[in-house]
Every structure is written in C-alpha cells, then in structure tokens.
C-alpha cells in the first residue's frame, strides 16, 4: 500500500508536468487545427530561462523560486507569440501540412539555436525552491513534489478561470468553434491566436521549470521526449479539449511511473504509447473528445 501511494504521488507530480505541456498543444490545436511541434522546445527554453533567472535570485527561497517561475513564463509567452507571428501567421490559409512542416522546422531551429547558445552539455538546474523531505506514513514527499503539484494545480485553475470567465477566454472558445462567425462578431482572430500561443507557451515554461526541479539536468534536447508524451496526453484526452489534456497528462505520468517501478521498467516509454494506442482503439476521439466532422 505504501509502495502504491508512493508511486501514485510520484506519478501525479510527473503527470502534472505533462498536463501543463499538453495544454499548449491542445489549445493551439483548438484555434488553428495543427500541432505545434515547436511547443516541446518552448518547454526547454522555459527550463533554461529558469536556469539563468535562478542565478539572479538567492537560491532556495520560495519567493525567489516563484519569481523565477513567473519570469520564465513571461519570457516564453513572448517567445510563443513571436514564433506564431513569424512562422505560422504568414501561412494562415495554407494547407495544414505546410504549417506542420514549418512547425517541425521551428522545433529543429530552436533545438539547434539552444545548442549554439547554451552548449550541448547538460547543466545542473539550480535549487530555486527550498528543499525539504517529509515522510508521512512511510511515503516520502519532497517539497519539490509539493511545489510541482501546487503550482500545476493553481495554473490549471487559473486557466479554467481565463477560458470560462473572461472575455478573451470566451473569444478563444468562439474562435475554436467557428473562426468565421468569430470574426463576424468583431473578434480579431489574430489577437486571440497570439493570446493562445502566449498562454500555452507560459504553461510550457512552467512545465519546464517544474520538470527540472525533479530531474535537475537540462540540455537543449530535453524537450523531445516529455513533449512527445505531452502530445500523446493531449491526443489521449481528446485533442482540442482542455480538461482532456490535463487528464491525459496525469494518466500518462501515473502509468509511466508505475511501469518504471515494476519489472518492466525498461519498456516504460513503449508501455505509455501502448496505452495511447489501446485507448484510441476504443475511443478514437480521445477520452473527453467528441467526434466532429471537419468543416470545409
């Protein structure tokens, strides 16, 4: 039982990070109907942003950690908006395949730029938050896990508020449902799309820092595998569906952690993807997704 709770806790804190990244994939898909493959590299830039900002604040303080988090989120929000403006907006109206290829190109560009600027050698991520370990009934909890779960939880609530209670959030849903009708009520779709990229990229940056807290070795290619799993999480939850992405992320994180703690740990990635295949066989639109006919 203790073993089970321990793995569950570890799984939730890993899954929370996947969830944060998955939200960016799913929101961008919602408004533009394509997969932003560069998203996993924004996650990487977030971690590096945290690395450099972490030098500016005293190590191991809560306020310092939160400041680093906020700074990296703001930085990546800007990066996300810039990427959309430079790479994707000129392709508005082009076939989806062109945009997808551009996204892959943007991903490679960011990875190589990262290697050029930061070097390819992995670096140790600083302890930006205070670190303490607790033991509750045989379950070990690190303060970093608490930070990860608390921050991810608060960001999810914040996102829920933005999407459902604010004008720009409602406009996001409107654009995602019908961009033409949205422009006919006076919504500037480009502004909403920029906002979506900014929001998704900020969440990816938070994911990058939270990931680096528990796996404190960062390098310019670190985004690839977590990004892929978060993408899987978004598809699993039903692409375009925000609660679905959060649920998918948690699920992938928990499955991966349990497999990792078992005798099949070598196959943890394979099993995570097998779960995707099995769930999609039974629910092709994802766990919370609904089938909709693509309109011309």
């Amino acid at each position: 039982m203790t073993e089970f709770l321990q793995q569950l806790l570890n799984g939730i804190s890993l899954g929370a990070v996947f969830a944060l990244i998955a939200l960016g994939y799913t929101m961008v898909y919602g408004v533009l109907r394509f997969i932003n493959f560069a998203h996993s590299d924004v996650f990487m830039v977030g971690a590096f942003g945290g690395y450099y900002l972490g030098r500016l604040v005293p190590e191991g303080t809560l306020w310092g950690g939160l400041l680093v988090l906020a700074g990296a989120m703001a930085l990546c929000a800007g990066l996300g908006i810039l990427i959309e403006r430079l790479a994707y907006r000129p392709l508005r109206g082009a076939p989806t395949l062109n945009v997808l290829i551009t996204a892959i190109g943007m991903s490679l560009l960011l990875q190589n730029l990262g290697q050029y600027l930061f070097g390819a050698t992995p670096r140790a991520f600083p302890e930006v938050f205070p670190v303490t370990n607790y033991e509750v009934g045989g379950v070990y909890i690190s303060s970093n896990q608490i930070v990860v779960i608390a921050v991810a939880g608060l960001l999810l609530l914040g996102l829920e508020y933005i999407v459902h209670r604010t004008k720009i959030g409602t406009a996001m849903r409107a654009v995602s449902l019908n961009p033409k009708a949205a422009s006919l009520v006076g919504i500037n779709n480009d502004v909403v799309i920029s906002f979506t990229f900014g929001l998704g990229s900020a969440l990816a940056a938070a994911g990058g820092i939270l990931y680096a807290l528990n796996y404190p070795s960062i390098d310019p290619l670190m985004g690839t595998l977590p990004g892929l799993k978060a993408f899987v999480a978004a598809v699993l939850g039903g692409i375009g569906n925000i609660p679905g992405a959060a649920l998918g992320g948690l699920l992938i994180g928990i499955v991966e952690t349990f497999v990792n703690g078992s005798q099949w740990s070598t196959y943890k990635d394979a099993i995570a993807f097998a779960v995707l295949i099995i769930i999609l066989l039974f629910r092709p639109a994802g766990l919370l997704g609904r089938f909709s006919v693509e309109k011309v």
Binding site: K167, T170, A171, R173, L184, V185, G186
Partner: protein, 235 residues
Amino acid sequence: MLSVQNLEVSYGAIRALGGVSFTIEAGRIVTLIGANGAGKTTTLRTISGLLRAKAGAIRFRDEDITALAPHRIVARGLGHVPEGRMVFSNLTVDENLAMGAYLQRDPARIARNREYVFSVFPRLKERLGQAAGTLSGGEQQMLAIGRALMGDPKLLMLDEPSLGIAPKLISTIFEKIVEINRHHGITILLVEQNANLALEISHDAYVLETGRIVMQGPSHDLRANPELKAAYLGG
C-alpha cells in the same frame, strides 16, 4: 447607407460575381433574391470582409470598406447573420450574446441592447444558460440575429433566415425582421431563396442571376412582374 459598385469575386478560376452593383438607402429593407448559386451569399460575404473582391468597391456610410478585415467592418456598424446561423454551439446562449457585444465598451449600452434583444426574442431569455447547439433551428436563428443586434448595427445583413427552420417559425422570424427595421430603424439587407416572402416584407429588391443583377425595382412592382413570377414565384 451602403453602395456596391461593379463587385467582382472569383473562387480560383470560377467567377462568382461578375460586376454586381446596388445601393441601399438608410431605413429600408432591401432583398437580394435569386436561385441557388446565383451569388447571393458570396455578395454578403464580400461585403462583410470574409471574401476579397477582385474588383469593385464597397462603400458603407461614406467610407470605403472594400479592403477592411471583418472585425473592422463590424466595428463600423455592419452586422452579418451568416447562412447556416453559425452560432457558437458549445457556448451558452448568454455567452453567444456576450460575444455579439465583443466590441462594445459601454456596459450600460450593452445592457440596453440585451434588453432589446430579449424584447424581440423573449425565447432567448428562457434559454440563457443552455448551450446554443441544443436549441432548435428557429431558436438558433433568433440567437444568431440577437447576437448580431448586440453589436449595435446600423445595417443588418441576413443570409437565408428561413433555411432549415420549422415553417411555423418562419413567419415569426420575418415579423421580427420587420419589427427590427420599423421600430429600431435598422436598415436590412435580406438574402432569401423564398422570394415570395422576401418581396412581401421588403421595400426594394434586386434579382441576382449567375453573378449579375438582372432585375431591380420596388418589391411591390417586382411581385407583379410576369417574368419574375414564372422564374421565382412559382407561376
């Protein structure tokens, strides 16, 4: 209010409009009738900026709006209720109306427009918390019109408001269109396949055939026109 001059629009190599011209005076109900594929919807979509004109000019309230983006055209007071209603199906009725007022800044004015929409379509008030996709076709049409009214339009363009609606509700919707025009002074451009109905409630009419205006005049006169009767009014 609106003047369209020599409007030409193409979809790739296919010419949809071949030089369409017409004008709308303030306070009128003007209808654009014609068969399927005549270019009615294309005309409206080009006016509201969803489609780009290849040639020609669109002037709205003494301003050239030909090259403006749709959201800028809405901001100038031109509302468009699109074909097929296009309500935001997963959003509630309330949220749909709020989106209609997206560009409105004055809360008092928004509240007044909301009350006005409820006075025209009381049904919407009963359905406020419901997702728009769960409404009947007629109710969705009311919502689409209400949403456009929330934007405080001077000219309202309606594309096939009778399409896919229970026959019982069609006359209600058309009565409401007249009411919106008469009591609130909103100029109306109505596109309809149901030519009888459209000529009945409109002041002026234009007949569109394969991308050209082939007939125009006061609706009353066109209703008596034998040629038109044979082609569009079922004998």
